[in-house]
Homo-oligomer: 170 residues x 2
DNA sequence: GGTATAGGGCAGTGTTGTTGACTTTCTACG
DNA sequence: CGTAGAAAGTCAACAACACTGCCCTATACC
């Protein structure tokens, strides 16, 4: 029986955080935290005719004004049809402006109007307030770890995009 | 003017992590990481007629066998009607068993069947694999911070539930 | 001029959430 | 004992948001 060789398992202290139980707790933490994370903007959006998808579009247009529809599609990871429905209501309602691309006239470059900027600010301030409070309670070291684990969890392609975005002037 | 007292703002090094830019990066990290976090189980579920809601139900029934419908409702944070649709398909398909409550015969206690346990294992193993890899790459210290920030982000009620769950024997 | 790309649109479908209203079964309390 | 109310289940309608498949126009590039 080779079993006897495992009587003293190789489990250094440092690896105890990889037990299935620890992983399960991490999984549940993600679920509960993400629910809270989206709750505040969702409340604001519920009053208008908008949903979470509108929030995401507005967020990324604000973050990178003038980006093309294709770029936005790539960042959001949804289909053209799905984005288009959301984008059209935002344009019709005067929150987003779609200008013909300068480089390439086939492209459409997306910008927030004043009205769009105002909504973005309202939504993101609600979300930032929660994030700020969580950061403050957890402290700078914890925040570093938080970001490290989240980055490690992303798909490699997404992670590259994300890390490239980090360096934008804001 | 009391304003003059603020000419030298109190911004120690330790608070630089609370800038709006840092917060925005945290927000985007949550978005991208959560998308990756759900991607693996979603692939498995897509083949069957199930969705993410089925996964969540199966997860929490596995974590706390014999829990009542009301408890599950509270943990998931959805309406009775929404859960019921999901739960009924799981029961009809023989993944979940609903037994009359022992204490209170009005209650239904939920258990996974062997088939249900098998699916749960498949789904959670996919999710754990990603979490394990992220944990391993980030290291134990980062994991501690990750959990701290997520807990701080939850609604207080959810956090209590979550922290109580942490102590279950598993 | 022909092919490929960017964008937009239509039609249909599926999952998951919501309200609101109603029923059955059972417990608990006055 | 009788009733108020909790727990569960159900029906109907609706909305948000994702998907596939297909088609069309405008523009770019070779």
């Amino acid at each position: 029986m080779a079993e006897k060789l495992r009587i003293q398992p190789m489990v250094p202290e440092d690896l105890l955080f990889l037990t299935d139980d620890q992983l399960r707790k991490g999984i549940e933490a993600m679920f509960f935290a993400y629910r809270a994370f989206t709750a505040d903007p969702d409340l604001i959006l519920a009053d208008m005719d908008y949903g979470r998808a509108h929030h995401r579009a507005v967020h990324f247009i604000n973050r990178d004004p003038g980006l093309t529809v294709t770029s936005l599609l790539a960042v959001l990871g949804v289909t053209k049809q799905s984005l288009n429905r959301v984008l059209r209501t935002l344009i019709d309602d005067g929150l987003v402006e779609s200008r013909v691309g300068r480089r390439d006239r086939r492209e459409r470059q997306l910008y927030l109007t004043e009205k769009g900027t105002a909504l973005e600010r309202r939504l993101s301030e609600a979300q930032r307030a929660r994030m700020r409070s969580a950061y403050r309670n957890a402290g700078p070291q914890a925040v570093g770890g938080f970001r490290q684990v989240l980055e490690a969890m992303m798909d490699p392609e997404t992670r590259s995009q994300y890390q490239a975005m980090k360096d934008l002037p804001e």
